[in-house]
């Protein structure tokens, strides 16, 4: 079912955490990896330095048949 859904609407290809401090990025990554392990899929989670004075998480999606490649951006507060 998950594979059909991924084929039709795309699936998560990568997660990037853009933070100012590496420590807070690490904490967030550990939480994310633990949650993803419970759900099943293996997704690479990376930490990058924040730009433009804003911290955010970006989730990259592969293209599906009905949905183009895209990324979701969530601002960290």
């Amino acid at each position: 079912m998950e594979r059909i859904k991924a084929l039709l609407f795309g699936s998560i290809s990568a997660i990037e955490i853009h933070t100012v401090s590496e420590q807070s990025g690490d904490r967030l990554r550990n939480g994310l990896v633990a949650s993803l392990r419970l759900l099943g899929p293996q997704v690479p989670v990376s930490i990058k330095p924040a730009r433009l004075n804003v911290e955010f998480v970006m989730v990259h999606y592969r293209a599906g048949l009905f949905r183009p490649a895209h990324a979701d951006v969530a601002v960290l507060g």
Binding site: R51, P68, D72, A74
Partner: protein, 146 residues
């Protein structure tokens, strides 16, 4: 017939203008004030107002880098609400003000499915600028807690 000094010019300025009309070299003393043309002054001020270019997105490394930078721009829109409007009006100009120089072949459109989840859609023009290809889009989802 001798020309009368113009009211807005001093006697020295007037004499200099007279000499210039004769196509003779003009001696300018150190105290003379030189007024730059107004248009040149305003364009110079405008130039100095631009922040330095910190990021140049090259079209060869476009796919790898543009999403990273535009992700930061989109996240910044959450904090600076006017930024999204500025990108909608003139994306190249708005990003230039953030220190990001986009290549000409890249176009960015702002789409608002609703007011809470704006999207930045990235297009790439072909060489003749007759057709633009949609590369991908970035969507601002929400504010997440750390």
């Amino acid at each position: 017939m001798s020309a009368a000094p113009l009211p807005h010019l001093g006697a020295e300025d007037f004499a200099m203008k007279q000499d210039a009309r004769k196509n003779l070299p003009v001696v300018i003393d150190g105290t003379a004030t030189v007024v730059a043309p107004l248009a040149a002054a305003s364009s110079s001020e405008e130039f100095h107002q631009e922040p330095p270019i910190e990021i140049i997105i090259d079209s060869r490394q476009l796919k790898e880098r543009i999403i990273d930078y535009l992700g930061a721009v989109l996240a910044r829109c959450w904090i600076d609400r006017t930024l999204l409007d500025r990108i909608a009006i003139n994306p190249h100009r708005a990003l230039r003000q953030l220190g990001i120089l986009l290549p000409d072949e890249i176009d960015i459109k702002v789409e608002r499915t609703n007011t809470e989840r704006p999207r930045l859609v990235i297009y790439e023009w072909n060489q003749e600028r007759s057709y633009r290809r949609r590369i991908c889009y970035l969507q601002l989802v929400m504010m997440a807690g750390k």
